[in-house]
């Protein structure tokens, strides 16, 4: 085996059997001929950012992957698709950028949504563009993110690396979030089945608890599962938090057993989707976490699991660094005032057009525009093969970050990981999102 560029192994002749079968990439899985391998590749399909992916390329095309879940495979299928994107009426990048800027100028202000799907360089470029256009810049999860971080500032926020949770958590709670839907490998890599330092038997050393609006796929894996409606949410959390004094089971027969389990636990990890919780419920969770951690006898981690945008944490980091708040920024007084109302409707009243960055291929990570923005002209930047779900005026195809371009992403716990580029020939010269945004910025400046 000889060394290619940057430690990539090139296997001149693997031999092996020609199975004649084709995998999901539409190419045979045979290990014949010259093959390039990538190991420890980082997948940017969701915020798990799995860094144990192996990719095998043949003739410049991906023919096989190891340790990649369905979300990651679907994402990679994008770059092997024969027809990457639908035809647009503006075939050249320059024309597309001009048309987009015409829309921003005539129908502004613009709301830039979805930069949390990009790498850090793309996130910063999108922020600069939104600032120069005096628009508003928000992530897909802006409603939940603003509520979560405002509570975090008010109460303090106990968090931890996923590695610590893997090593130590003896109770894991999934609150209105189901990683089997949105983060397939979360359970096996980090939260439940991974064999940690002090939880060497993995799931056998933990109790898994689920709380949701309805029964979800994770229910069979849970020791206890509670269906809690939004109107009962704050009361339920209050009953759980006041464990020693609780007498009213609120109609949940498993509640006393849950309280006993929480009483015995030393490390409680609560994964939550802030977009789905009520404000009162989120506040109650923070208060509960604060009360547990203040006592000092055990540790309770509150961990947001954002379900759109693999780099939501990277967005929050960049937003804090640039503007002091984690959920984006409005670049005029009216837009900032609308942003503080923390609803899409309030933003929609103030903006005239949308710059949307596609969140993912068809599947659990793909988001649609909120209904209140559907009637506005939309410019879409997307690396995915499916057409956007909205009526887009301009569609600009871009390179797939973390595969066709390299970039820095932040894992769900804030750990930075570099997703390298895979030398595949199916890129067809699609520009990086960052370059498209920079070109727009340049045109605006001119």
């Amino acid at each position: 085996m000889r060394e290619g560029a940057e430690g990539v192994k090139v296997r001149p002749d693997v031999g092996g059997q020609h199975t004649g079968k084709t995998g999901p990439y539409g190419l045979r899985n045979a290990l014949a001929g010259s093959q390039t391998e990538y190991h420890s590749h980082v997948c940017a399909g969701c915020s798990c950012l799995c860094d144990d992916i192996s990719l095998y390329l043949e003739g410049g095309r991906i023919v096989r992957s190891l340790n990649l879940c369905r979300i990651g495979v679907t994402r990679l299928l994008t770059i092997t698709a024969e027809k990457r994107l639908p035809e647009t009426p503006f075939p050249s990048l320059r024309e597309s950028v001009r048309r987009a800027l015409d829309i921003f100028t005539e129908r502004g202000p613009v709301v830039c949504i979805g930069a949390d799907s990009l790498d850090q360089a793309g996130i910063v470029a999108s922020a600069e563009l939104a600032r120069s256009l005096r628009g508003v810049w928000v992530p897909w999860a802006f409603e939940g993110m603003s509520r979560f971080f405002e509570h975090a500032v008010r109460c303090g926020w106990a968090t931890a690396l996923l590695d610590e949770i893997r090593d130590r958590a003896d109770i894991v709670v999934f609150w209105c979030v189901d990683p089997l839907v949105t983060h397939h490998r979360h359970l096996s890599r980090y939260s439940v089945f991974a064999r940690g330092r002090f939880t060497e038997r993995g799931a056998a050393d933990r109790i898994v608890i689920g709380v949701g609006r309805d029964r979800t796929p994770i229910e069979p894996l849970c020791g206890y599962f509670f269906v809690v409606g939004p109107e009962k949410e704050a009361d339920f959390i209050g009953a759980v938090a006041a464990s020693t004094g609780a007498r009213d089971t609120l109609g949940y027969k498993d509640l006393p057993m849950l309280l006993r389990a929480l009483d015995r636990a030393t490390y409680i990890a609560v994964f939550v989707d802030p977009e789905r919780l009520t404000d009162a419920g989120l506040a109650a969770l923070f208060e509960w976490s604060l009360s547990i951690n203040r006592r000092g006898e055990k540790r309770m981690i509150l961990f947001p699991l954002w379900t759109a945008g693999a780099n939501a944490v990277g967005f929050a980091q960049a937003s804090v660094d640039m503007f002091g708040t984690a959920w984006g920024r409005g670049f005029s007084e009216d837009l900032e005032a609308a942003l503080r109302k923390r609803t899409w409707e309030a933003l929609a009243d103030q903006v005239g057009c949308v710059l949307m960055i596609e969140s993912g291929p068809a599947g659990p990570t793909r988001r649609s525009l909120p209904d209140c923005l559907e009637d506005k002209p939309v410019v879409v930047l997307t690396p995915f093969k499916e057409p956007p779900v909205c009526r887009a005026c301009v569609v600009i195809p871009t390179a797939l970050p973390g595969v066709e371009t390299e970039g820095m992403f932040f894992r769900a716990d804030g750990l930075p990981l570099h997703a390298g580029r895979v030398e595949c020939c199916t890129g067809k010269g699609y520009p990086r999102s960052e370059d498209v945004l920079d070109q727009m910025l340049l045109e605006v400046a001119l």
Binding site: G23, H39, D52, L66, N67, V73, D163, R195, G196, A203
Partner: protein, 154 residues
């Protein structure tokens, strides 16, 4: 989490005449269906038009998965989401993966029974599976913990 298709569920769709054309009684045939040693098409009366709906129901219950003869594992690729839970609970993986305590999946050169290949679980070194060792207690860790019922052990 293993799929719970029972012999009685399968028996319900059989002719229940014990005609013996397959060499078995209907209950015996249901047992061999469950273990995937026969297919519904191996029952001549079931191949007639009168039992077309029953044949379709049996096909839906049994799925298209092919049984691995050494381990008895059947994987439904349509249900598998590549979550890797089966890999992480496999005792062979725990013993042989150098990075098991980091939660990582097996490397290409690790000797493990199960791998996630192209988003779906596949058998790798099947001869290492406890179920392939006649004297070992039968292990069902992978199928028991599969959250999507994509794995069945027969």
């Amino acid at each position: 989490m293993a799929r719970r298709t029972s012999i009685y569920e399968l028996y319900e769709y059989l002719p229940k005449t014990n005609c013996g054309q397959c060499g078995l009684s209907c209950m015996g045939f249901a047992g061999y269906l469950l273990s995937r040693d026969v297919r519904p098409e191996d029952c001549p009366p079931l191949c007639t038009d009168a039992f077309e709906e029953a044949r379709q129901q049996l096909g839906a219950l049994l799925g298209d998965g092919v049984k691995d003869p050494l381990t008895g594992l059947i994987v439904d690729a349509d249900r598998c989401i590549g979550c890797g839970i089966c890999v992480s609970v496999c005792p062979v993986h725990a013993a042989n993966n150098r990075e098991v305590s980091l939660g990582k999946g097996p490397r290409a050169d690790d000797t493990v029974v199960l791998r996630i290949v192209d988003g779906c679980v596949q058998l790798s070194s099947r001869e290492l599976c406890n179920r392939a060792i006649p004297s070992a207690p039968p292990c069902k860790a992978c199928a028991d913990n599969c959250p999507t019922d994509a794995m069945e052990l027969v």
